[in-house]
Each structure stands twice: as C-alpha cells, then as structure tokens.
C-alpha cells in the first residue's frame, strides 16, 4: 500500500467520494424526487432490498443522505492512517454543508482552531506556534448554507412557553 503514489490514491478517493461535480461552478442541480439508480441504467422509486447498502445510491447528488454517506466515506479515509489522513483532509473539507446553527458553530470553531495545527505544504512549526497556519479553511472550496429557520422556531417555542 505504501508504494502506491499519492496521485493514484487521490484518484481512488475521488471515485469513492463522488461529489466532485459540486465543485463545478456551472453544475446545475435539478431538485428531484428520491429515485434510486439500479445498475445497469434503470430507475425505481424504491430500492430493491438486496442492494440497499451495496450498489444503490440516491440519484440526487446533493441529497442529504448521499451527503451523509459521503462524509462517512471521507471520515473513514481520514481516520485510517496518518498517510491517508494527509491525502484525505482536502476531500473532507472541500465541500461543507450545514443545516443547523450548531453545525456551523462546530465547524467555525474547528476551522479557526486549526490555524495552530495545520499548515499547507511543508510542516512549519514556527507558523503553527504563532497561529499563522492556513488552517483547514484553506481547503474549503464550497460552502452550502441551508439553515432551517432555527431562530424562528426557537422564538415561537419561547413565546409559547411565555
């Protein structure tokens, strides 16, 4: 495994994650119902039970379930070994989607704190100690903000309590 070049690992990761189209600025997402694509080339509204976990996938590339699957795949790559972590970190952070304020809060704290932990390119302890690392934020290419009326909801609940 160690002898495989980084470029090859990147290609493998790219194919496994399947969200590269989201980085195309001209990519057009058509909101669709949850169709499953059943290989080869057929579609159904309900996935056959034998391919639930293996080959079926949501056709809609930005569907939240696929997003969850992607993030699990990315996390698995990043937590396999230190070598894979270096390769997988840019994939982990390149597209970030948040739907709640809590997610946004956690991500912002993580990105802000990473200036002390991560510097792009060769390791530079001086920059890290000074908090001048690039941080994980340098890897973020796309931010998708879909926060669902949280503050309105909280207000309505608090007014009910009052």
């Amino acid at each position: 495994m160690k002898e495989l070049p980084v470029e090859l690992w990147k290609e493998i990761f790219e194919r496994a994650i399947e969200d590269s189209e989201l980085l195309d600025p001209l990519y057009e997402h058509y909101p669709r119902r949850k169709w499953f694509r059943n290989p080869p080339g057929s579609y159904s509204r309900y996935t056959p039970p034998n391919i639930v976990n293996a080959t079926a996938r949501f056709y809609d590339a930005t569907d939240s379930t696929l997003g969850d699957t992607n993030i699990r795949t990315k996390l698995a790559f990043a937590s396999t070994s230190s070598q894979w972590r270096k390769i997988a970190l840019p994939y982990l952070f390149r597209t970030v989607v948040f739907t709640t304020l809590r997610q946004l809060e956690l991500l912002t704290a993580l990105v802000r704190g990473s200036r002390y932990r991560y510097v792009d390119g060769p390791h530079n302890i001086r920059l890290l100690l000074e908090g001048k690392g690039t941080g994980y934020g340098a890897m973020i290419k796309r931010i998708d903000c879909r926060i669902h009326c949280q503050w309105q909801f909280i207000t309505s609940v608090s007014s009910l309590i009052d």
Partner: protein
Amino acid sequence: MRNDKADHVTYTDMISDLLRCCPNLRIYVNRNTQSGSPTPTPIINALSDIAIIPTQTYHDGTIVTNSNVPYCPIERLEWSGKEGLMVGDLTFLLRTTPFLRKLVLGPTFLCSSRLSDTLSDPQIPLQCLQSLHIDLTSLHRAYIRYTRRWLMPALQHLQVLIASVPWKADLLFLLDAVGENLISLHLKVPQHTSMLNEDWVDILLRCPNVSFLTFNASAMPVLPPKVILPNLRIVGLEGCLPDFRATNEYDRPESDRREQLTEHLTCLTARAGTLESIRMMDDEFLLMSGPNAEGFGTMGWEVPRRKKMTRELSTWKDWYTELKAAGITLANCDGDPIGCFK
C-alpha cells in the same frame, strides 16, 4: 434559551468568521429558509474580502505583487433560499468578484438602501459570467433594474422563472442586452401560468442563436413556426408526465394534455433539419428508460396507475416512431435516449 436576535447575531458572526478563514472559497450557496431578512452586511463584507493579490516571482527571488489585478477565486454565488439580499450588497459583491461564472438569484430580494446604487459605477463588468438564473415571480425584485448596468459578454445560459407577476418588460430588456449570445435558454413557468403567443415570439426573436431551449409544454404555446432558430439542436419539455395524470385538482383532462403534447411534438418535428433531440425534463421519464419500460421501475406503485402507465406506453411508442423517422431522438432529462420502444 436563546432568543431570535441573539441567534441571528451568532449566525452572522460565525459565518463571517468562517468566510474569513476560507481564502480559496469558490462557491457560496445560500439556501437558508429564514424569510424576510436580508443577508447581514458582515457576511457580504467577508465574502468580498476573499481576494488574493496575485504575486509574481522573478528569477532573482524577488516577489512583486500586482495590486492592480485583484484575484478573487469566487466563481459562483447563489441565493436560492428565502433569505434576501440587499440590492446594494449585491452590487457591492459583484464589483469584488470579477471572475464570477455563475449567479443564481432567488425570489426574495429587498430594495436598496445604499446611495451608491443610484449614483456611482454605471457599469459593472462581469466578464466571466456564463450562467445567470433570475426569478421574476417576486414583486421585490429591484435588482432586475440593475442588470442594465451589468456587462455580461460571456453569458451563454439564462434561466428565468416567470409567473403571473408582470415580467415581460424586465425579461425583454434583459434579452435585448444578452440574447444575441445566448446558447441555452430555460424558461421556467409554473403550471396554470398562461403565456401569449406574441410574448413567446418576442422572447425567441431576441435569442436567435439559442441551441438548447427548455420550456413548459403544458403552460406555454407551441414553438412559433415563424421564428427561425437555425442553431436549435435540443428542446427540453417540462410539465408533462409520462402517464398524463393530473398534478392537482385544477388540471385539465388527460385527453387535453395528451393533445397539447401532440401539438408540441408535431411542431417540433417540423424543425427536423436542425433539431436533434427532445428531452423530457420531468424526472419520472427516467422510469421509461430501458428495463423500466416493462414495469420494473413502477414497482411500488398502486396497480391502477401501473396499468395506466403501461397503456400510455403505446402513445409514446407512436410518437417515438414519428420522431425517429424525422431523425429526432426522444431522451430523458439526462440526455439518455428513451430506449424502450423497440
């Protein structure tokens, strides 16, 4: 428990903080469902600050910055949720994103409050903008007036959402400016919005070079035969389901819808010289691809509807045969031929 205002402040602070940490951000998509309030100015400022001054390194190691040409990596901005955007903020943002390639503007836009919107910068160059989505269904669309200032020489794709709110003057004005270069035009029209044939002609006459045209077959008249579109290769039809069923209680009878689609297809067949493909944009047409045509894809549907779908397949077979004879491919929304009719 936090209150409304505190949450909004937290949201503003956190997003701005995050954006300041993302010097390589290329795409910002805002689909927040919070309606009635504009995106806070600190977020706009943080987005506009994402600019890198390009440097040039010479052989002797000296690094020179070329501050005349700020490089901003942002290539796509999208406000397609319910959160608004001040027109002044939009104008300000567009000035600082010269490499923008796609701009999606949703329905909720609020009026301007900045003096600069009306006085300065008569032209905003958007040299790289290739794709623009605008929504003319809202009365709060003050920004559309400002498109007169936008210079969009590279614009190739325009998607417009129109409904019962008056739209014609705004759209025609925009098309006067950019219609000549358009390659792809997508007119999104909700069901039960009527469009006059004259309006349709006015629109098409302003887009003579369009090669990919998408419109709603159930809400719009047929493609006017008198408008010659020499480059038209692909037509996408929205608003027609494969089994012609009603989408709501106000919909017309099935026979009417079938007849209307026949008119559209007949009219399109007359353009057989240039037209290569008709795409049925409703995703349910995926069910008519390959093995699905035999009923596999309709598993889980109630039996009457599955039987009805099977019956309607014969109608589609007839159309498929006619179109094929004219050299036109019937395809699904992905452009894959609907290959079930052997």
